[in-house]
Symmetry: none
Subunit: 256 residues, 2 copies
Amino acid sequence: MSDIPFTSMPAPPAIILVEPQMGENIGMVARAMANFELADLRLVKPRDGWPNEKARATASRADHVLDAARVFEKLEDALADLSLVYATTARARDSYKPVRGPEEAAERLVAHAPAGKTGVIFGREKYGLENDEVGLADEIVTFPVNPKFASLNIAQAVLLVSYAWRNASNPSKTPRFSAPPNPPAEKADLYRLFDHLEAMLDCRNYFFPPEKREALVQNLRTMLTKAQFSEQEVRSLRGVLKSLDRPAQHCGTDAS
Amino acid sequence: MSDIPFTSMPAPPAIILVEPQMGENIGMVARAMANFELADLRLVKPRDGWPNEKARATASRADHVLDAARVFEKLEDALADLSLVYATTARARDSYKPVRGPEEAAERLVAHAPAGKTGVIFGREKYGLENDEVGLADEIVTFPVNPKFASLNIAQAVLLVSYAWRNASNPSKTPRFSAPPNPPAEKADLYRLFDHLEAMLDCRNYFFPPEKREALVQNLRTMLTKAQFSEQEVRSLRGVLKSLDRPAQHCGTDAS
């Protein structure tokens, strides 16, 4: 049927499932991925452990995707080597991250591919992603579903993202976004920056009262994510933090 | 999350399933349709009769689609009131009918809608459509799946057609980048943040040697500009700086 070449395509995004509950769904996700040549499946704390026989049963012949799937304890670890990450969500959020449709997100994933690895995060079947999980992504992708009947299951959502990626990566189409000259840092670098800053602020009782800590941390992380800092910039910012951690000794007055 | 209006859309195509075998799949088809506001489901000789409780179980809340579904003895009858019909197929065929991808087929369905009703035929789970059934359609729609792994199930195929139709029928309403609800801070605020940070770094001899100061300052300002921080975010960052200016007193070890 199709004689569209699959050679010389940009690297497809990783698909990251956060705490997937049903093995059947993981298998259906692998199958949806394989249809459009995605292959990098990452599972964060799958409920029923891994490997999972039920996943194999529904994967059709997408065994190569299941065999290569990797399991992570923490979402941060699953994203560590990626430098452009989308979170999927169907709900409105108090987030200042850019929200894109599947086509536009796919175009950006394709444009970014020469600069670094990319990924798309999908939440639990029951309730999707937590706010702090969305906070780890650069942008949000949402689906133009009927608001009166928004009911995509996880494998269907992966199918649409994979399909949109396939369309965007078709060599006959020219991506409208050019990759930034300095690609964003890998997430692991960014998360180390978060940890560094938050530890310093903890030492100064910044997060007070304690019940506000989570929201404050979330705000800081969103702010530091949206700039899409490069590796070099993250390194500079860590240098700034190291410097700020020292006592102010070379000036007469309080600088604030 | 979407507040995309579904009014004034062209009439969506009918979805025609030829001898569907599994009730579960019929339910999943109804659910896929409902996500993108398709509503006209037609069943030609469903293997297990109709209605089918298993279809209801997998339809999520797409009962309105199942309730309105019509059953036909012959494919010809199911197509009688339609004037543009696509047949879906994953296999190469000795057919002289035009073969189109989902986007192009969807555009043609949308363009045709003012002139008459349209439909898309899907074959049996096991072996698709017979040649004489394809012969009843005007054109063929096929999916750009990986030829080494072509394994769309019937509900996935319906989902992709429905999604492509949704995009073609309302291209301008597909969510694009939404402007952040909080506009960037005024520059005066941002510059006060620069001054604050640079004064703190001066107090710690960060800019060393002095001849590098200008370039280092420039880098920091570029970094802090590109995030387009809002007024609230700039205020938060100044709070962070104030906190960092204090000695680290509440932790055992150096946080850096």
